[in-house]
């Protein structure tokens, strides 16, 4: 399953610009639901991007990252068709991953 991750990695010269959107509630643990009960914290803690066995970007997130998080970064040394492995893990131990292709 990798339904939660959307990645676009576009090559410009030898630099790939990577835009990522993840579907995740990113609950802070401070918000109450309709019944007035606190919604427990549920948020992505770590998001990593691996290109040719090298971690090119590693995000550590707290609850202040917006729901359905978006992040953009760029890395050098990429070529068209390269694989970029994306994976996240949240505070409940849930995880998802996806292999994107640089285009």
């Amino acid at each position: 399953m990798a339904a939660s991750i959307r990645v676009r990695a576009i090559l410009n010269g030898d630099t790939a610009e990577v835009q990522t959107l993840i579907q995740h509630p990113m609950d802070t643990g401070l918000v109450k639901d309709a019944k007035g009960e606190l919604i427990p914290a549920h948020y992505i803690q770590q998001l990593s991007f691996v290109h040719k066995d090298k971690t090119v970007f590693l995000a550590h997130w707290g609850t202040a990252v917006s729901k359905d998080p978006y992040v953009k970064f760029s890395f050098k040394g990429a070529a068209k068709g390269d694989e970029l492995k994306v994976s996240w893990v949240d505070n409940k131990g849930a995880t998802d991953n996806l292999t994107a292709t640089v285009q």
Partner: protein, 164 residues
């Protein structure tokens, strides 16, 4: 009221973005690669830093050193955010040898919002979207060459991002 407004707006923005990447996303082969976490074991999740309430404690827990303001960091954030649930914030820097970038929202219940490791070869620039509980200073921290630099900008929030 506040809550439902902010949720709808968030969803709308997400859908817009999702539409942009959906086509490409569909083209991706779904491989069951092992999670890449093994490669990142030496970069453990800084649980303690994310628990700190105020800015100085969070910076201390994350970096353990003082920061100085730098004009080589460009922090891009709106003057006024209508929806504190989704505030687009980005940073770029011309500082050499950047190893990490972090974002702090001073007035949030927990100050540290996000921390990014920038390995060699990765461009020292990050864009993301953060929640802001109320009007606050946003601080971008850049660790470069073993030193810690910062840039600060105030963002006015009209509707808070903590569900009201």
């Amino acid at each position: 009221m506040t809550s439902s407004f902010s949720r709808t707006a968030t969803r709308r923005i997400f859908l817009k973005g999702a539409g942009l990447v959906a086509l490409i996303g569909l083209g991706n082969a779904v491989l069951h690669a092992p999670p890449a976490l093994a490669a990142a074991n030496d970069d453990k999740y800084p649980e303690d830093a994310f628990k700190q309430k105020n800015t100085s404690d969070a910076i201390k827990a994350l970096y353990g050193r003082d920061h100085e303001a730098s004009d080589k960091i460009k922090l891009d954030a709106p003057e006024i955010a209508e929806n504190g649930g989704v505030v687009p914030i980005s940073v770029t820097t011309t500082l050499p040898n950047v190893t990490s970038i972090a974002f702090i929202v001073a007035e949030n219940p927990s100050a540290l919002a996000a921390s990014y490791k920038i390995p060699e070869g990765t461009v020292p620039a990050v864009a993301n979207r953060l929640k802001m509980a109320k009007t606050s200073n946003v601080i971008a921290l850049v660790e470069a060459g073993g030193k810690l630099y910062s840039a600060t900008k105030e963002v006015k929030v009209t509707v808070g991002g903590c569900g009201g």
